[in-house]
Symmetry: C2
DNA sequence: GGGCGTTACTATAACGGTTTCGTGTTGACA
DNA sequence: TGTCAACACGAAACCGTTATAGTAACGCCC
């Protein structure tokens, strides 16, 4: 265990002052060529690396940004992580990925420890379900009050003023349902979440609007609102048993594969008897047989945009007063399930 | 933007010294009751929180541990994360999740920035594919040399001396293949990776041993080694076209669902014509239709064990010289694909 | 009433850097 | 030869906290 070498060690060894060493390594013009080279050579030889903690303490910034996501096994959030990391690393920032696990408490604890401990310079966050349900955003408002920049993406709230990145959920759903209508489907069911999930709500809205715009009548019996995501099988089965449907649009991946499973189990064929379009482009839909059509959210692009917004704010001296909301376009990915 | 309040601020305000404030907040017996209460009340009122960076600098430890995983959209790694977080948080540690994206370069950069920058106290890591291929472990050896504890899990190497947590990959595969044999399957194919992936290698080994122990003859034509995970469809299709098989064992999730897709596309039935058992208990297998049997790795338990090993080392003063390797038991999860 | 032990604090150094300001030496120039 | 700027470097303050080493003030005791 060789202990780490510090500026002081180098200074003592070369019989110069600490400031000279520091300046030499930063190519300060104050230092003569020979001294500078001597210091640099020595530093390289002993593999000197500055202690980031000391630097953070000195200039009150950490070059870390926290990315808080509700769940990890989710291709959408995974691609957001990639996007954020790409831009962050390019700008010399580290990304701390933190999981809220859809829990309000964990979200609050995460944010408080990171913010008050001074571990990060800013946050990028997608709200947990529980937070959206409780509508308690004090921890986020507190972060803003401390002067820490905050960017929200995907699952957002209008009760916190900050930069935001979203997709046009309503339009994505609208396009998906329109696609089904154009394929000649008449009885299109919707599997959605309860309304407090902002994105579920908006996607539901898109479904309604598409039906309306295409002059189709709306049948409330074709809409299923899932309370418990884990036990979505039961209500879906009930729908398929009781209603005559020829297409299903779901607001997420899991509902889509569950629908597929149930359709198969009652002996119907996809897409001949019933077509499916899901939401979010993950592996569950990609690797299903048959492949399931879906609305791609372009998570990596969201991540990149969010990271750029945050870093821009971190680097601007003055406190910019106006916040902006960027909307990322969605794309419909057509697969076998809705031909 | 209210700036953060420091010990000095409190000291100035209450007209005492900084040390008095610090000691009061830490309930030092040196401080009189009235002073202590006064300080505490003031601190609470102004919501004082110590600056962790300064504390880290002071006692040369960060209370952070880095968890480096190769990919994020993977239920196994996700459950490992949960396990690690559970134990870490319980012991007052933060977990920084870092992605290597199966890239050697990114793995090295991640480790170097975190280690030399002094951002974490220790590492828990599962090697990237590329690292295993290159067999270059200098970055890890360097970490050990710096006296930083390192725990490796799942994808490990015996070229680095440190604590390790693994599952008995060979035995897991052995049990899976034995299960197929017991179900009366005679021609069991294996879809595996190239040998440099340690776990793929071991699982392949278990397959061979199971055949051997059950007195079955081994047909090399039934073994497919996938080079490029992304394009595994082609070789799998070739196998099913050219060979008469009644069961397939795969060393991961993706291969299993791809096998399923191909079996369906040639009009055969699962499990009547061909049974499938995969490896790793993720959502891809869980939500496939039919559900695919698999070997569960108990990722959360691995994570917990790894975290405990790391923290134990962090908290022991003396440098323990002997390293241990813990083996986590696997479980066979039987689903419709191998009834 | 001088020495001694508490009590309740304060002063200071240290962690590892960065940065501002100061200073001794040199050379150019009037 | 005296003056002044340029050069090359060192001293010290600072970031926020903790730990160690003082140090006043007080009471007690022989």
């Amino acid at each position: 265990m060789k202990k780490k070498i510090t500026l002081k060690d180098i200074a003592k060894e070369l019989d110069v002052s600490v400031s000279t060493v520091s300046k030499s390594l930063k190519d300060s013009p104050e230092i003569g060529d020979d001294t500078r080279e001597k210091v640099k050579a020595f530093a390289k030889l002993y593999n000197y690396k500055p202690n980031n903690i000391a630097i953070s303490l000195k200039n009150r910034m950490t070059k870390n940004i926290a990315l808080i996501i509700p769940e990890i096994v989710n291709d959408f959030f995974a691609s957001v992580i990639h996007g954020v990391e790409e831009i962050a690393n390019k700008n010399g920032y580290n990304v701390l990925v933190c999981l809220s696990n859809e829990s309000f408490r964990k979200e609050v604890v995460n944010i408080e420890t990171l913010a008050t401990g001074g571990a990060v310079d800013g946050f990028i966050i997608s709200l947990s379900k529980e937070t959206q349900l409780k509508s308690d955003f004090n921890h986020l408002i507190e972060v803003e009050n401390q002067g820490m920049p905050l960017v929200m993406f995907d699952r957002i709230t209008d009760q916190v003023l900050c930069d935001k990145v979203i997709i046009d959920d309503a339009r994505g759903a609208y396009n998906a349902v329109s696609h089904l209508i154009e394929k000649g489907r008449k009885k299109i069911a919707l599997i959605t979440t309860v309304d407090y999930i902002s994105v579920g709500h908006l996607r539901t809205h898109g479904y309604f609007k598409a039906l309306l715009d295409h002059g189709m009548d709306f049948n409330p019996d074709l809409v299923v609102r899932i309370e418990e995501v884990e036990s979505c099988q039961e209500p879906i089965r009930k729908l398929l048993d009781s209603q005559e449907v020829d297409a299903v649009f779901t607001v997420n991946e899991l509902f889509a594969v569950t629908v597929m499973k149930e359709i198969k189990s009652i002996g119907k064929q996809i897409p001949k008897d019933i077509a499916i379009v899901g939401f979010s482009d993950g592996r569950l839909l990609q690797h299903a047989t048959p492949g399931i059509s879906t609305v791609s959210q372009h998570g990596d692009e969201m991540g990149r945009v969010a990271a750029r917004m945050l870093i821009k704010r971190l680097q601007s001296e003055k406190e910019e007063e106006s916040f902006s909301t960027r909307v990322i376009k969605t794309t419909l990915i057509e697969r076998e399930s809705s031909i």
